[in-house]
């Protein structure tokens, strides 16, 4: 057994709140055709800070009529401007946007943490730098598409309708916008209902960048707004990131149409730890895998599969490490786990915590003081779960880890591949040949070996099976936004 870490000292972290001022308007409209406009029926909704439950701003709630205006604006911009612009010039706009995001990075990071609840350390060091990098990467593709698809000419779809989730609000906007624009599409983007602010601030930045009006349109709202976009025949392509349940609804809606789609859906990734792994590093990887961004991560390592011979040690080390995690103010630079994104999500997670105990699993949460206001969930693990338990099969989207053991590599692979998802996986071992064997057997789109939750604009990301279709990032991330024409047959 290991010696527990000793944190029982009088030494405490002093609060270290981020102090960069941000400029937020009291209310935000829809960004359509390069202009700010109210929703036609005047409806609005509030976006709140999940760490304080205070209202941050009122935001326009787009109806089907507003979505129609946005799609038409995007079509006009496509027909009149964007499709006629030389590709290199398209790219220069994207380079410009990337640079302006870098200039205002800290401001965006603070707003992201205020609106979504994620720790400032993550929005500052992960989300926003990746946003800028993503625009910078795809900017360079704009005039090089002839080299991307051998034997084919890449042509844009036209208008892309894009719907993004609340877990990485601005990063998902960048993942959607950058490749769509680089390949010559115009866009109608719908941010998530609980996290619209950074996308709206991006709209301001896009105005500052002089992007032609209508090339990017941003419509805020909830599920109805998203459905209006999916059902709009003028959106030639639909790109969605979100739950598998909604993804299936979108597939059914699009089935009778010839419109193109790509989906990035849920996951229930297995993080597989072999007995020959560097266990301390593996524990860090497990923590990063499931507690990064409060576990609001589709590729989260929400299942730990640990080899039986080291299970006791790993779980002990993990509990020990969990006790050191700081849950609290997202704007404090020391915070490890911020606020749960919304009350709705908090309830969902609480439901799973109760369910886990009802299913007979054993719950562990370190003792930690939670703020009185806001939505919080301490880091949680469950042991004693079975393969058929809902804790093992279903995506929770919270800081909740289900731990199972295995004896042989074959058993690990079988358990890893059992749920219908296939987004990501982790493998921890010091043996190179085992890494290749296991990572090729796990049916998932992203495999992290001796690391976890790493992202890069050059690295394609996306799922197998019920985790979706299509890739975002890298050369492969261009494909969802182009039609491939055969020069000999077109």
């Amino acid at each position: 057994m290991t010696t527990p870490l000793n944190f029982d000292t009088t030494w405490r972290y002093a609060p270290a709140p981020e102090s960069i001022p941000v400029r937020l308007r009291k209310s935000y409209g829809l960004f359509i055709g390069g202009e700010w406009t109210e929703a036609k029926d005047g409806r609005t909704f509030r976006t709140i800070n999940p760490a304080s439950e205070k209202v941050l701003a009122r935001v326009a709630d787009a109806s089907a009529a507003d979505v129609d205006r946005a799609v038409k604006a995007a079509r006009r911009a496509y027909d009149r401007v964007w499709s006629k612009l030389p590709a290199a010039e398209r790219g220069k706009y994207l380079f410009r946007i990337a640079r302006m995001i870098q200039e205002r990075a800290r401001e965006f990071a603070v707003v992201e943490s205020m609106d979504g609840g994620k720790p400032i350390r993550e929005s500052r060091d992960v989300d926003i730098p990746l946003v800028a990098a993503h625009f910078f990467y795809y900017a360079g593709w704009a005039d090089k598409l002839d080299y991307a698809f051998p034997g084919r000419r890449a042509a844009p779809h036209g208008v892309a309708g894009q719907i993004i989730p609340w877990n990485f609000p601005l990063l998902m906007a960048a993942w959607k916008l950058a490749p769509a624009l680089a390949t010559g599409n115009t866009v109608v983007l719908k941010p998530a209902e609980t996290t619209p602010l950074t996308a709206l601030k991006l709209a301001e930045l896009i105005q500052d960048a002089d992007l032609p009006p209508g090339v990017v349109n941003i419509v805020t709202g909830g599920g109805e707004t998203g459905a209006a976009l999916v059902n709009h025949p003028g959106a030639d392509k639909i790109a969605f990131t979100g739950s598998t349940e909604v993804g299936k609804r979108i597939l059914r809606a699009l089935a009778p149409t010839g419109r193109s789609y790509t989906l990035e859906l849920g996951g229930k990734a297995a993080n597989i730890v072999f007995e020959d792994a560097a266990l301390d590093q593996a524990v860090e990887g497990i923590v990063n895998g499931i507690f990064f961004n409060q576990g609001h991560v589709c590729c989260a390592g929400s299942r730990l599969l640990v080899q039986e011979s080291v299970a006791e040690t790993v779980v002990a080390k993990l509990k020990d490490r969990m006790a050191t995690l700081i849950v609290g103010d997202p704007l404090d630079k020391n915070t490890d786990i911020g606020a749960i994104n919304s009350k709705e999500q908090w309830k969902r997670i609480q439901g799973y915590l109760k369910l886990g105990e009802a299913e007979g699993a054993e719950k562990y949460q370190p003792a930690c003081a939670l703020p009185e206001k806001g939505y919080w969930c301490p880091p949680t693990l469950f042991t004693g779960v079975s393969q058929s338990d809902r804790l093992v099969q279903e995506e929770i989207f919270g800081p909740v880890l289900a731990i199972q053991t295995f004896r042989t590599p074959a058993e690990a692979v079988e358990k890893a591949n059992n749920p219908p998802y296939g987004l990501s996986g982790g493998v921890w071992t010091d043996k190179g040949s085992k890494i290749f064997k296991i990572s090729s057997k796990v049916r998932a789109g992203v495999l992290w070996a001796n690391t976890y939750n790493k992202f890069d604009p050059t690295a394609p990301f996306g799922g197998y099976q019920e985790s979706g279709m299509g890739r975002e990032g890298g050369l492969h991330g261009l494909l969802p936004y182009v039609r491939l024409l055969d020069p000999e047959h077109s």
């Binding site: 089935a255 990572s439 495999l447 690295a459």
Partner: protein, 283 residues
Amino acid sequence: MSSSRIPVLKTYKLYIGGAFPRTESGRYLPFAAPSGRVLANICHASRKDARDAVKAARAAFPGWSGASAYLRGQILYRLAEMLEARAEAFAAELKAQGQPLPAARKEVQAAVDLLVHYAGWTDKVQQVFSSVNPVASSHFNFSMQEPTGVVAAVAPDRPGLGGLVGLLAPALAGGNTVVAAASETFPLTAITLAEAIHSSDVPGGAVNILTGVRNELLAPLAAHMDVNAVVYAAEDGAAWAEARVQAAENVKRMIRRAPAAPPSPYAILDTLETKTTWHPVGV
């Protein structure tokens, strides 16, 4: 004496799991030549046959997807050899089903050439579509392709041979296993193709071929939770739309293809998944 010899007619059955069973349903469809003469009672495959075929395809998947690309290439090439050797028989059978002989001969040659073409892709498609990704952190990062899994293929009415081969070859080249619903206009050719496949070292279950009514087979295949993709080259738009609704349940890849699409590595790519692997670089 020779004039009184009774020819031996062939029984056309299904091809499932490397065997030639009759449909479990006992149903048959009389299949007539353009002259009206019944050529065969073909199997009217059932939903249960479709499920059995999926089971066989799934069982064959680890072996076929795990075979080296070189071996898969050689086996597809071997299938081309088998077709070439039986070219006249295929042409005659196409003719019996209504295809003029010169066109039938051309079609068989085209099918052989298509197989040779795809045989050569098995060990190149990965090189064309994979990538090493220059991530901005100290990781080695690469993306490569893996087969989607079990692919359901719905053949067009015509070309009678090329239509089916054009669906099977790219899916197999990529390492998938296949359940195919045959042309309703040239069903005999599909089963004769199965015989050629059976003698080509294609492992049992890697290809399964069903005859009958395609729309009756499309529905259970599109709804089947263990089918990963459907490639559709028939021309019933309404049936295809309905299949896409059914297929949403397990997020199948739904691929529509022209009946006589020219060969392309992108047809292989349609039935592949891209996997990105990360590993830290360090000592």
